[in-house]
Symmetry: C2
Subunit: 634 residues, 2 copies
Amino acid sequence: MTAPTRRPRKLAAAAARTVAELYDIANQLRIDSVEATTAAASGHPTSCASMAEIMAVLFFRIMRFNPSTPHAPENDVFVLSKGHAAPILYAAWAEAGAFPRERLLTLRQFGSDLEGHPTPRLPFVDVATGSLGQGLSAAIGIAFDARLAGIDRRTFVVLGDGESAEGSVWEAAELAPRLSVGSLCATIDVNRLGQSQPTMLEWEMDVYRRRWEAFGWQALVVDGHDVAALIDAYDKAARTTDRPAVILARTVKGKGLLGVEGKENEHGKPLPPTEAKQAVAALREKLHGAHGPWEPVRPITRVSSAKTRQLTTASAPPYAIGGKPVAPRKAFGDALAALAGSDERLVAIDGDVENSTYTEFFQKAAPQRFIEGYIAEQNMVGIAMGLAARGRVPFVATFGAFFSRAYDFVRMACIGHNAIKLAGTHVGVSIGQDGPSQMALEDLATMCAPPDMTVLYPADATSAWRATELAASHPGPFYLRLSRPEAPILYGADERFEIGRCKVVRQHGDDRVVVVAAGVTLFEAISAHDTLARDGIHVRVIDLFSVRPVDRDALVEAARACGGRVVTVEDHYAHGGIGDTVLASLSGTRAVVHKLAVREIPRSGKPAELLDHYGISARSIIEAVRTMMGERGQ
Amino acid sequence: MTAPTRRPRKLAAAAARTVAELYDIANQLRIDSVEATTAAASGHPTSCASMAEIMAVLFFRIMRFNPSTPHAPENDVFVLSKGHAAPILYAAWAEAGAFPRERLLTLRQFGSDLEGHPTPRLPFVDVATGSLGQGLSAAIGIAFDARLAGIDRRTFVVLGDGESAEGSVWEAAELAPRLSVGSLCATIDVNRLGQSQPTMLEWEMDVYRRRWEAFGWQALVVDGHDVAALIDAYDKAARTTDRPAVILARTVKGKGLLGVEGKENEHGKPLPPTEAKQAVAALREKLHGAHGPWEPVRPITRVSSAKTRQLTTASAPPYAIGGKPVAPRKAFGDALAALAGSDERLVAIDGDVENSTYTEFFQKAAPQRFIEGYIAEQNMVGIAMGLAARGRVPFVATFGAFFSRAYDFVRMACIGHNAIKLAGTHVGVSIGQDGPSQMALEDLATMCAPPDMTVLYPADATSAWRATELAASHPGPFYLRLSRPEAPILYGADERFEIGRCKVVRQHGDDRVVVVAAGVTLFEAISAHDTLARDGIHVRVIDLFSVRPVDRDALVEAARACGGRVVTVEDHYAHGGIGDTVLASLSGTRAVVHKLAVREIPRSGKPAELLDHYGISARSIIEAVRTMMGERGQ
């Protein structure tokens, strides 16, 4: 793939500054960072001070952007991976005129969008940072979006040296050179000091360089306080378009701050008011008077990325009730491939299991929008965060169990409201012989926890197809729980599925117990229903489908209709899954819920053996129903 | 630190084999892998075949071990990081005489310990593998244990090339050279093919070499099917004791297997019976007759690592009721430091936040048993898995939010029953201004999910001290949820705390509602209690303390005593936390539970502001109590 044609540098809203001006700006950013953190009585001024020249050079010499429309697709993008340096990020945007400088003093106050770590509540922030080691992955996603869209935009990301110990950074580092994102430029602020002690590599700049070069990057070592050297390095990086560049900037923590420059044990500590005043006075003395105050540019207008547009598929789900059984994961693959053609925003990322998750169908349909993420789940989710921030609809697929690898990224995506779409296959003991390491058995507990996450768990191919469409068209983060085994087709193509709505699949005027199931256990519940019906015992069977949000009204109604007798059955551990969700929904109704779930670490075996052994098969459901009826009378 | 004196090679149970014999053994291992996976009709024979010579050389030439006591501390240790190659691991142990070869044909059958991926149900397995990229970290833990104990044992680990894309591998790679574990020897089986396609680097052996060297390892590139070359490389590695070594073995996937050698799309596919027979026949033809069958060695006796010994601290918790408030996280640090002296098995690992988690006290007390893990949480937990497997009591501390980074490791530690001890600090909105990225708000959902995990959530310093002792003496995996703010001392030094037992902290003959709280919300509950009492409304207040297992009997009893009116209040999201745990406990009792929890993504602010705004302060409790009494009468 070829890089898009570079467009002239006409966008720079703040005209490129001279070296003297940039030194002034750097010190002004230091002043702002000190004043804001001292006012807040918390924050990380020394982590800001080390990167002041980097910020000055990037924002006021290198980057092309219009601060009044910070999210506009044509602007260069800046990601602050070392999110604890938020004050200097805010200061830079204030300096650029995005908002009045006075607002900096609201840092960390309740109600201020200038939070302790950046979140996309701010229009110039794409992804929430503060959990270290995530920004580079997000930046790849942002750069990849630009490449797909043919926009000549560059993406800049600044990392701390401490955070470059995170494995996720190396996942991003190894993949980026393979994605033709030469427009990506990372900077590592090597200020030598972590929170509690010196970093692993301190100032071993050559080791840094060798590592990044070995990972395929153009790596440039530079004095991070030398404005001219920084400009030179960034210019060099801009001329290299065949691979991403990393600027390894040797800096001093607390640089320029009286009394704390280069000192240990000054991480995350604001200067006390008196010291802050002295430090600011000293910084002011250094100003050449060469800089501003710049004219504020126009107020920010948030550019909508139209994330909520409803998608349609090329065709209805092609499965016939009672037809050949199809695995829900395969139906997901079918649907995703069908969606590929109808919406250019879709991107799929897989971790070398595309022949298990069936994203290989999408890969075939839209190869240019498929990212092979290899076996590196954190980076996959991080890239999706960046893509989502730019209005793409990124599906990330792997075994459900392995999203546990990327859970911190999922957590941060939810904090940042990045509408990532996760498709977790091979869930529960029903995967069979591969054993517990491959079984997602805690994914409902984890995925349902963050507010705003939507979790669907389709049982058959038709509902899996529809769930995939719902995920694609929903404006928030999403998890699809997709079973491995083939499943009978339960629903016709005209069946309507909605987020937050369950399906009553078996119903009778004389239902005595309601069985709430989902995925593979739905078929166990239906089987139990049939057996019990032969004995004249009627049970209502619900396909929960939407685990979060859950269809509380329908559950309450069904429980009431069945005398308050409820059995839940799930291929998931007992904590935080379907049973607990139903319990929470029925709280206050006096319904009695009998929860069937996996209650020990399972082992290898055939799917049917395991369902039965761990107490979530038709046999256990029948037993639970009979017990419950015995307890509470017929 | 100096490496322990090397001891003579007297332990080799299977006498060192000749090159011809080793080729025979390699092919025998191939035969076993093919036969077992074909019998199971699932599994990964091609991933076994590529590493047959590696296994033959390691097990029958390089490693010193007694197969009848595989877990004995003096044996060299082997970790199969690429867990899907389990059949060849089992075959090697059978070949060594650890169990009869016939048992290999029970692979993946329900009830057989020869599961799809290895677990410590088998006495020769330290940690469960199968989620890729974890074995190297565990091996570091095992090697570190040997160093601490002064045992001249070597640790070998084989990784796949695909899995070396996992960031966790690079976290392990960057740390190992700093830990004086020259006894550690990794091998990467570079067979070029992943599951769905070629790996990222295919056979770019020089890139592999440069990366590992840049990370500080002795890296040796070798033909992984050349027995003599492998022996030479492992001998070279043995002579390097100042840093760990990695053997980069260029291999062919499916090597030696008729019809599949070197082919794509043969990952995870057993040979059909006819093809298997032909492949086995071809392999048999290659045998020189130079090898065995070896005499089986004595049957395995599991060596107990005496994990359950009760610990005592040097002294009782030093906090006085009503005395100076102390943060629970600090009390954890105090207790851990006190325990350091009383038990040599304790190791602490921190991620550059030891001055926030207060493991710095332990670091001071027992510097040789403190590991600075830097900002790399996966590797920290992985090291702890290896340490726990060897009978150490490893505490890993960081912000609770950042254990989400290592959740897949936590999941696997639970599968492997490795008794890791996780101390998560800075939980909930009560951390204040740093904002949501630093707040653990889903950690109860995640940590309570795996069976056998114990979760304690102390509210004050005394209970935090006792919780730390309980964690140290408990034989299973453990999570301590530790609040950031200072808290009043509620309990005296003689108060007895137990896993699975709560505390009733306020009680009256006329209690109308029971409020279940924990951590910071306990003090809100007490404050609500006091306010309500002034109005003549009595509420019972429970300090849940033990979230998993939960004190069901006490909760049922309290709910009954209070007319079935229950309010839960937690500094955690609404899903999977204390409220849901209480709901599940009271299922069937007809109690009504009103759940107070954080229900949206929070923002920065002062702790008290946030507790109040997100509805978990005394004010909300009072409101909930009044509403509940209005609803259900007084």
